[in-house]
């Protein structure tokens, strides 16, 4: 079984630039999550999708972050414009159902904003 795929693995941008991350979850997983993990901290949920609908985006900074999962499969997360404090690892995870199921994480995208 293929795992959660993410790209790119690393990205370096200057502040005020835009960036996009892509995630392909495990086949058949209805729920997809985007997390932000700042160095030395636990993952923080940015947005949770159930199929192509948003379940929770209360912690997503909507003035600069956006995410979509148009066909209920893969997803993109965009930051525009980026700030220095956005430097972090962006983790995508998927699960069969909601938060009572184990989550499978992708390798993450390490973003550095200079």
């Amino acid at each position: 079984e293929a795992g959660v795929a993410q790209s790119p693995r690393y990205k370096i941008i200057e502040k005020r630039q835009s960036v996009a991350f892509w995630c392909n979850p495990i086949s058949g997983h209805a729920t997809l999550y985007w997390y932000q993990q700042i160095l030395g901290q636990g993952p923080k949920l940015l947005i949770q999708f159930q199929n192509n609908g948003v379940v929770d985006d209360s912690q997503l900074p909507k003035d600069r972050f956006s995410a979509e999962r148009l066909k209920g499969v893969d997803s993109t997360l965009k930051i525009q414009p980026a700030k220095l404090e956005d430097s972090a690892v962006y983790l995508c995870a998927s699960s069969l159902g909601g938060n009572s199921y184990e989550q499978y994480f992708g390798p993450g995208t390490r973003l550095t904003v200079t």
Partner: protein, 111 residues
């Protein structure tokens, strides 16, 4: 909002010693999950606890869920160098849908 706290933040042990990390939630949980993240890696699911007072074992790892369903612990017996990593608990409130991760306990094991 819900807060999930873990202690200690760091733990250094000699190989063969035991290790315990504690997780406390500000609210009652419906379930709690534990994940392990190796250095440079991504979180990997270890276990889920659902019932009050539940105890589960995986080889040298013992997981407990408190009677009040507000705290949990992970105990490793006789640590090995392969146990190195950061251990996160993640709790789901009874009234919410989000899984909130703790800050993690970083374990280092000296051979």
């Amino acid at each position: 909002g819900q807060q999930v706290m873990q202690i200690p933040q760091y733990q250094h042990v000699q190989e063969g010693e035991d290790f315990t990390t504690y997780c406390n939630s500000s609210t009652t949980l419906s379930n709690i999950q534990w994940y392990k993240q190796r250095p440079g890696g991504h979180p990997v699911f270890l276990i889920q606890l659902v019932k009050s007072g539940e105890v589960k074992k995986q080889k040298r790892l013992t997981f407990q869920f408190g009677e009040a369903k507000k705290n949990s612990s992970l105990h490793i017996t006789a640590t090995q160098t392969t146990d190195v990593g950061t251990y996160f608990c993640a709790g789901k409130e009874t009234s919410g849908s989000r899984l909130t991760f703790g800050e993690g306990t970083q374990l280092t094991v000296n051979p």
